[in-house]
């Protein structure tokens, strides 16, 4: 979240799109209810289903799954053409005035530089026009035909109300009603918040949907404001933390990135990332990249990381393909190129798309290690569970280990919620049987490996033999030791440019500003610097007072970065440093420095007259309406159809088959054979969570099993009538990849849509239930979903695919 849960109460309008917080985040949703009651806010839900969030909303608009860019692109068009944007904000705080290279273009659904054979773009033209200093040219009047504002205006001019209506299937008057409500928040004293979750990310165009929302918020001046922002509600309890700590194939902690194979030179690796400002004198905070990187290498490799060996640069694996994401890994596993796999609290058989492919892939492994508190389908993928999972154990040669681990109630540590708060919690009881903490299990495996390498030697052993392992109990590093390590500490006395002592050797760093690129500091995750200082563990703090009445509770736990609660909060004030509106004030200039009810997200003494812009992590200092080369399918979001679409073509580009689906999506040729067509599978399906369950865990809990005991699918009343299905009937739902059977919930809450001149029925398939646990045994929903991913995140398209529903 750019903002945080309690801040939702400061909003005047809450748009829930691509999320369903009443079901997936009910307690966080409380702050939506508070905004309605105490801030006279309106709640609007745009979703394929009238869900439990819609049940308490002020307005609801139905939409075809996977068409949110069209809906929001139309909104951008409407806001610009009717001058319902916050002009001062747009001019000062976005890149609207920057001029784009004349090489850049967009034609019939494709941006310049597309190579149809590789399915990739050459992004060279996706740049601003630069002067000799390397700074982007600007036109403050926003009139230049190639300034970002005019290009964007032209790009979305195609997204008229009629087009949006035809693509999304949302009735015209509802679209207009929602757009009007949103447009109201262009006023400086009004804010709207977008609440979204996996309903936006799990599309082949997921990242660009979110970018479209960000553009809307920038146009309305809602970023950095109380009650504003683009707020990812996120799915799991520490998915934020694991992202921050970089547990993704291409990342290192703190959003540092692994080098590519062709980045052989350390200096070049750093230069590529320590990016200079593109507008004179902007902060461009990433220019400190090397401080964070070197401090990480010191935390990991200790004394072995030296300037002479480029801080062990050679020890970092170099990526041979842009990303070894899960679709890529399972494609390789399916082809027999992967021998071992470790699942730590992850249930891929249930959670990944195209279950048949996952089963076949796991069967080709030599060994599989599952570390989990619970029985999982993955650990038992070799076992026959009848119709629900029909395999022959005798034919599966995978050696499977199942290691029992603690659950949250049996361990100390922190998780990062979607507000970015690191909250410490404590164990209440010992784990069952011989279960051990995950840290002890990782240490146990690692120490054995280390021992084997010491005894036998082996491939490239230096990194693992020299891994910094200072833990008092090597086989069980404590959470306290690990937390202190990712906070960071000084290895030598650190001095500033005037030789004043900043921090003594051995002390914990207070913030990431103390980190150095000369090897004098170590830090496991620069973003978390400040969480465990010389003042102790900041994450245990429990002062819930709210002296400003803004909901920031700065004394509760610790929020990254630097205990800041609202990101980009400099933008809550006008360029002159006064708040846009008293009721929305976060930080302001008091004549000497930035002060306020939150930690300023800005250099504290950078005066308004200096003119630095608020988005300090960006090279332009500005909110990026134009993404340059940072997105893989284009600088402006464009609507593309889901890979399994219920209509014949992309209504925006009916004559260009290359622009039917996302041209940059993650898709493997062999998976294309497993995509169905609407002729065979006419119903548009989407999968989702229910409030009574959490994925495939709570089916092991009697209380939750009672509350929602058996797999069902939701079918609109009119489709049900067409197919002769009554509520409670059993139905079969098939896709090109398999079928499931479940009970039919027939509902008025899913209405047929008129899309591009035809009727589209949508079918809702909750993702819960499997063949283990306390609930009724069932098929796994991901039997049905396709193996295709977003162009930037590679997140599979769980939310839009095609099925056929039949009565059993």
């Amino acid at each position: 979240m750019t903002n945080h849960w309690v801040d939702i109460r400061n909003a005047d309008l809450i748009i829930v799109m691509g999320g369903n917080p009443a079901e997936a985040h009910p307690v966080g949703f409380r702050w939506v209810m508070e905004a309605r009651e105490h801030n006279d806010a309106r709640l609007v839900v745009v979703d394929p289903r009238f869900n439990r969030t819609a049940a308490v909303a002020d307005d609801y608009a139905e939409i075809r799954t996977g068409t949110d860019i069209a809906f929001l692109g139309g909104l951008i068009h409407y806001l610009i053409e009717n001058d319902r944007i916050q002009r001062d904000y747009v001019r000062a705080y976005t890149d609207a005035s920057l001029i784009v290279s004349p090489e850049f273009g967009f034609e019939d659904g494709l941006f310049t530089g597309y190579d149809a054979d590789s399915g990739e773009y050459d992004k060279a033209s996706w740049q601003y026009e630069y002067d000799d200093e390397g700074h982007a040219r600007r036109d403050a009047s926003l009139e230049h035909p190639r300034c970002v504002f005019q290009l964007m205006r032209r790009h979305y001019s195609r997204y008229t109300l009629d087009v949006v209506n035809s693509v999304c299937g949302t009735p015209r008057e509802k679209i207009q009603r929602v757009w009007d409500a949103i447009a109201e928040t262009a006023a400086p004293d009004k804010t709207m918040t977008f609440l979204y979750a996996l309903g936006w990310t799990q599309h082949s165009i997921g990242s660009q949907i979110i970018r479209t929302a960000a553009i809307v918020q920038l146009l309305l001046g809602n970023m950095g404001m109380r009650g504003g922002g683009v707020n990812a509600l996120r799915g799991h309890s520490n998915i934020q933390g694991l992202t921050d700590l970089g547990l993704l194939s291409n990342l290192l902690p703190g959003y540092l990135t692994l080098p590519r194979s062709d980045e052989q030179d350390y200096e070049e690796y750093i230069l590529e990332r320590a990016r200079p400002p593109l507008v004179p004198d902007e902060v461009s905070y990433w220019r400190h990249y090397e401080r964070f990187h070197v401090s990480l290498m010191k935390a990991w490799f200790g004394a072995a990381a030296r300037e002479e060996n480029d801080w062990c640069y050679d020890w970092l694996p170099k990526l041979g393909t842009p990303i070894y994401d899960i679709l890529h890994t399972f494609e390789r596993m399916h082809q027999g190129e992967v021998n071992g796999y470790i699942c730590q609290g992850f249930n891929p058989l249930a959670a990944f798309p195209h279950k048949a492919k996952i089963t076949a892939s796991l069967s080709r492994l030599k060994f599989l290690v599952v570390i989990d508190p619970l029985r999982t389908e993955t650990a038992e993928f070799w076992k026959n569970h009848g119709d629900y999972h029909d395999v022959d154990p005798a034919e599966i040669d995978t050696e499977v280990f199942r290691l029992p681990t603690t659950c949250f109630a049996e361990e100390d540590g922190t998780i990062v919620n979607s507000s970015r708060w690191l909250q410490w919690f404590w164990a209440a009881a010992p784990p069952p049987g011989e279960a051990r903490a995950d840290t002890a299990i990782m240490a146990g495996i690692f120490l054995r490996l280390q021992q084997l390498y010491r005894e036998e030697g082996g491939a490239f052993a230096d990194p693992l033999l020299n891994l910094h392992w200072p833990y008092r109990r090597p086989d069980e590093p404590s959470p306290e030791e690990l937390a202190r390590e990712y906070n960071g500490w000084a290895l030598e006395d650190v001095r500033d440019e005037e030789r004043n002592l900043v921090i003594r050797a051995g002390e914990q760093v207070e913030d990431f500003g103390m980190l150095r690129a000369d090897g004098s500091t170590a830090c496991g995750c620069w973003l978390f610097a400040g969480c465990w200082t010389e003042g102790g563990n900041q994450m245990v703090r429990r002062d819930n007072s709210d002296p400003y009445g803004t909901g920031q509770t700065l004394g509760w736990a610790w929020s990254w970065p630097a205990n800041r609660r609202i990101l980009y909060n400099r933008a809550s004030a006008r360029p002159d440093g006064t708040p846009w509106a008293p009721g929305k004030a976060v930080v302001w200039w008091n004549g000497q420095r930035w002060v306020g009810n939150d930690v300023p997200d800005f250099p504290p003494t950078s005066a308004p007259d200096d003119g630095q812009a608020p988005f300090i992590m960006n090279q332009t200092g500005r909110g990026q309406l134009f993404a340059r080369d940072r997105m893989n399918e284009g600088p402006f979001p464009e609507h593309y159809e889901p890979f399994e679409t219920p209509i014949a073509n992309n209504p925006l580009h009916p004559d260009n088959p290359l622009a039917k689906h996302n041209p940059g999506a993650r898709v493997f040729e062999r998976d294309r054979e497993n995509f169905g067509t609407f002729e065979e599978f006419p119903h548009a399906a989407t999968s989702y969570r229910l409030t009574e369950h959490f994925h495939y865990w709570t089916m092991h809990n009697r209380l939750n099993a009672i509350a929602q005991p058996e797999k069902f699918v939701e079918i609109g009343a009119s489709l049900a009538e067409e197919l002769g299905i009554a509520k409670g009937d059993r139905v079969r739902v098939s896709s090109k990849r398999g079928y499931i059977e479940a009970v039919a919930v027939v509902t008025k809450r899913i209405r047929p849509l008129q899309v591009a001149g035809q009727t589209v029925h949508q079918v809702g398939i909750p993702l819960h239930w499997g063949f283990l646990g306390e609930t009724k045994k069932s098929y796994l929903t991901n039997t049905l979903t396709p193996s295709v991913g977003d162009a930037n995140t590679q997140t599979p398209e769980y939310k839009s695919f095609l099925v056929r529903v039949e009565k059993l």
Binding site: A22, E23, F29, R52, V56, E692, L703, A707, F712, K748
Partner: protein, 309 residues
């Protein structure tokens, strides 16, 4: 026995008992009320789960019957359920009305009036109507006495069960488990006065959002309830899974009371004792027409309940 430790002076009514409870130390006990604002309910069932967890109840794992509701109905192990109704108005606007259904803790409790087992049902000064299972004889009279169809008889021990409004928590200064868990503030708890005020505030809010018929459900027929609803359509409580328009204690109970009232006299008491001895030695008397009708009515209710989705 366990109940002995409770301050008896908090009991203001006790089933099938004539002797008054101690009343001198009546100060300091406020009537409490649980408010359920249906317009804020997301049907998440947190209350349902929290209720079962707190009260150590684990019902059977059921089936899906084509609706979100589960368990489908109250049982001896499920003391509250969420009931989901899809309501389309004349303009085609859809509302998903979700009502938490549980004991209403009536000011004039039909169950208590009907109960023949001394002390099996009590009403505390704070308004909570509680089943005192040790004394329950499983007769089911509370079921027919309840205008809201709440109590359920266990097949395991032949005793009646229902929501206690977490009397154990409330007597220790806590709110009921369902109230505490509620993520949206749909369920609120406090003194009766505070809740009635809050209900008015919530009603005005709803009227401001276009629900002209919003209102409070606190039915007079049972002298008000200690569980009250805020409804978007207070003029049509039936929309909410057949919430009764004008609940009253079943005439059967009045008939029953008509018979028992004279028992205040010792003479009749003695004759009844004689009757009891006669029953024990010679079996039951013939029942009257009135009772026969009551049985039929009760059976009909039961059938209706079973047929409900």
């Amino acid at each position: 026995m366990r109940g002995d430790q409770i301050n008896l002076q908090n009991v203001i009514a006790r089933s099938a008992t004539q002797e008054p409870s101690p009343q001198e130390r009546s100060g300091g006990v406020e009537r409490v009320t649980k408010l359920i604002d249906v317009s804020r309910c997301i049907g998440c069932k947190a209350c349902q789960v929290a209720c079962a967890e707190w009260n150590d109840l684990r019902d059977e794992v059921g089936n899906n019957e084509g609706v979100y509701d589960n368990p489908l109905d109250l049982t001896p192990d499920t003391w509250q359920v969420m009931r989901f109704d899809e309501h389309e108005d004349e303009q085609g606007n859809l509302e998903w009305l979700i009502r938490k259904d549980n004991c209403m803790h009536c000011a004039e409790p039909g169950c208590l009036e009907a109960c023949p087992a001394p002390g099996a049902i009590v009403q505390y000064a704070n308004g909570i109507v509680d089943f005192n299972s040790e004394h329950c004889i499983g007769c089911g009279y509370c079921v027919s006495g309840c205008p809201f169809d709440v109590p359920r008889i266990s097949k395991k021990d032949h005793k009646a069960y229902k929501c206690t409004l977490c009397s154990d928590r409330v007597f220790h200064g806590l709110e009921p488990a369902c109230v505490k868990s509620c993520p949206t503030g749909s369920i609120m708890f406090g003194t009766r006065e505070e809740m009635l005020d809050l209900a008015e505030t919530r009603t005005s809010f709803l009227k401001g959002r276009g629900f002209d018929n919003a209102g409070v459900y606190n039915p007079e027929g049972v002298d008000g309830t200690h569980v009250i609803y805020v409804l978007q359509h207070a003029d049509r409580p039936g929309l909410y899974s057949h919430l009764p328009e004008d609940p009253r204690i079943s005439p059967l109970v009045d008939a029953w009371k008509g018979v028992t009232k004279p028992l205040a006299s010792v003479a009749i008491g003695i004759s009844a004792l004689t009757g009891f001895v006669h029953y024990v030695t010679a079996g039951p008397k013939e029942h009257g027409e009135e009772d026969e009708a009551a049985v039929r009515e009760d059976d009909a209710r039961e059938r209706e309940r079973e047929e409900r989705p």
